[in-house]
Amino acid sequence: MAHRLLVAAAAALLLLLATAQPWLRFVLTIALSTGLAVLGIMMLLRAGQVSFGHALYVAAGAYTVAFLRPHSGEALFLVLAGAVVATGIGLLVGLFVTRYRDIFFGMLNLAFSMVAWSLLEKLYALTRGTDGIRVARPEVAGLALEGPAYEWALLLLALALALTSGGLVARYLRTPAGEALGAVKTRETRLEFAGISARRVLLQAYLVSAFLAGVGGAIAALATLHVTPLLAYWTHSGELVFVAILGGTGHVLGPFLGAVVFELVRVYAAASFPDAWQMILGLVLLGIILAATRGLVGLVDDLLARFGRRA
């Protein structure tokens, strides 16, 4: 119950920020899109597996939007298409990758994403290489919008998707298949001896994570209106895992909390220290891991507990 209030408060705060500081609309939309991808990473982390290649699915969502935009002017359709393509790729890669664990799982995901990055860079005729593809602003739910109105529409769309996904994922994690992710991490063989395919448990989560990353990528494409191969680069995947730990994996609010803090720090740090913002983020991450292992949601939980004790 406390968590639901927290989520509502967070959403309200987000909208407040967007109203008070109009230029934050873009940053917050990007943060929400990152959060969606990180939600998927979090699911895999429950199974103890780190993917160093989920940027692949973000890029898949983004580039699908870019490729389909000339043929469709509706944002809702483009986002859905991006998610579907990402999930399709997720199925092909996932069937292979879910046979492996730990470092091999992480590295194989990395491998596929680097192959994608390279293809996006080199196939200039199709993808315009490092220049990337410009995306013309689409309609949202049938409305042709300009400037601030478009930004608001996108932000609200991202927020709606975030709240829905968060709720659905939270529910999924309480089902046997979702709880079994933790069992894959602690005693995979026991799961098999109970008659359950650990691989199937992992694959299901993997597909959901690919879907979510695809949605995130699509939203990002619609916000930045420009897609580049860097979306698929391994450091982007690393950032997703970074945000997952920063936010905390104990609650579905974590990925979004982590993403907002990450993007805000990045924007402010990049503005003030253009050659040191990576270092600043790195130090923040170290701080969280060494001092607050359960991430930001852990800190919030502790604060709430202290509040509750005094009340």
Partner: protein
């Protein structure tokens, strides 16, 4: 065509030498500390930058090789213990994911450190290459540095490392800890010291790889980034903790990449990863890895 092939092989050998230095350190550290050090490529880069700086300071061409050696030693001796004691020692009891992210955070910090210390302008100090002159091979002129010194040093490093691990007390302790930490500690091995030495050696090897690479290329921020991601591919393909395996795999990947550069440039980046996927498909624990069977 034959000439091109020869060039590709020679380039491949030189590159494999660099790749090996980083990959072997990475796999050594993983075998003992059980941590995949994402920042290992940054040590390579810092080794390269320090080497370039020293070459510039020393000025004289004759001293440039010395500069390389000093750079590698200095970076290894400084960063090795600092990172292991200052950072890694605090996370040995944490989950693997958190350990991985700590090294990722370190990577982010060290990458910007390079920018802060050396700026973003390319650095090029090729004194050692000029010093050693050129060699004729099958009708083409190739630098002695890349033909002989680079692969030579890598080979010597491999032999020394294998000798060290098999014949010295510290080396054998390292192998013991790799196989079974608890048993090793039970027979009196000082695990703390083993961890410290292993990481320092690994760091030194990476820095040496970087120092060797420095004279052959224009140094810009990001050289470490490319190197680490390829080293991951080598380590995963070879099998975790396999030293000789890393050498063979680095050679394989170095050559494959080089051949791609010359004959199928679009595939240059992709080839190492396709190799990795192909190997892991057939041998899930890597080329030389051993599958651990759990006892129930």
């Amino acid at each position: 065509m034959g000439l091109l092939l020869l060039l590709a092989v020679l380039d491949g050998l030189a590159y494999a030498g660099q790749l090996f230095m980083v990959a072997v350190g990475l796999t050594l550290v993983f075998g003992v500390l059980k941590i995949l050090n994402v920042a290992h490529g940054s040590l390579f880069a810092i080794g390269a930058y320090v080497a370039a700086t020293l070459i510039g300071w020393f000025g004289a061409e004759e001293l440039s090789l010395l500069a390389l050696a000093i750079a590698a030693l200095a970076v290894g001796a400084l960063f090795g213990p600092a990172i292991e004691r200052g950072l890694l020692a605090r996370i040995y009891d944490k989950e693997h994911v958190l350990q991985l992210l700590v090294t990722f955070a370190l990577f982010m910090i060290l990458e910007d450190l390079q920018k802060l210390l050396w700026g973003v302008q390319p650095r090029f100090e090729d004194a050692p290459v000029r010093l050693l002159g050129q060699v004729e091979v099958g009708g083409i002129f190739y630098t002695a540095y890349q033909l002989l010194l680079l692969p030579g040093v890598a080979l010597v490093a491999l032999l020394l490392l294998v000798w060290f691990l098999r014949r010295t007390l510290l080396g054998r302790s390292i192998v013991a800890v790799t196989h079974d930490r608890e048993a090793a500690v039970a027979i009196g091995i000082d695990a703390r010291f083993v961890y410290l030495s292993t990481f320092t050696i690994g760091a030194g090897l990476a820095a040496l790889g970087g120092a060797l690479a420095a004279p052959t290329t224009s140094l810009v921020p990001g050289v470490g980034v490319q190197m680490i991601v390829l080293s991951f591919a080598v380590v995963a393909t070879a099998g975790l903790g396999q030293i000789e395996g890393a050498a063979v795999t680095a050679l394989l990947i170095g050559l494959a990449r080089s051949l791609a550069v010359y004959f199928a440039p679009e595939l240059e980046v992709v080839v190492p990863y396709l190799l990795m996927v192909a190997v892991l498909l057939v041998r899930p624990a890597g080329l030389f890895g051993r599958r651990e069977l759990r006892r129930v």
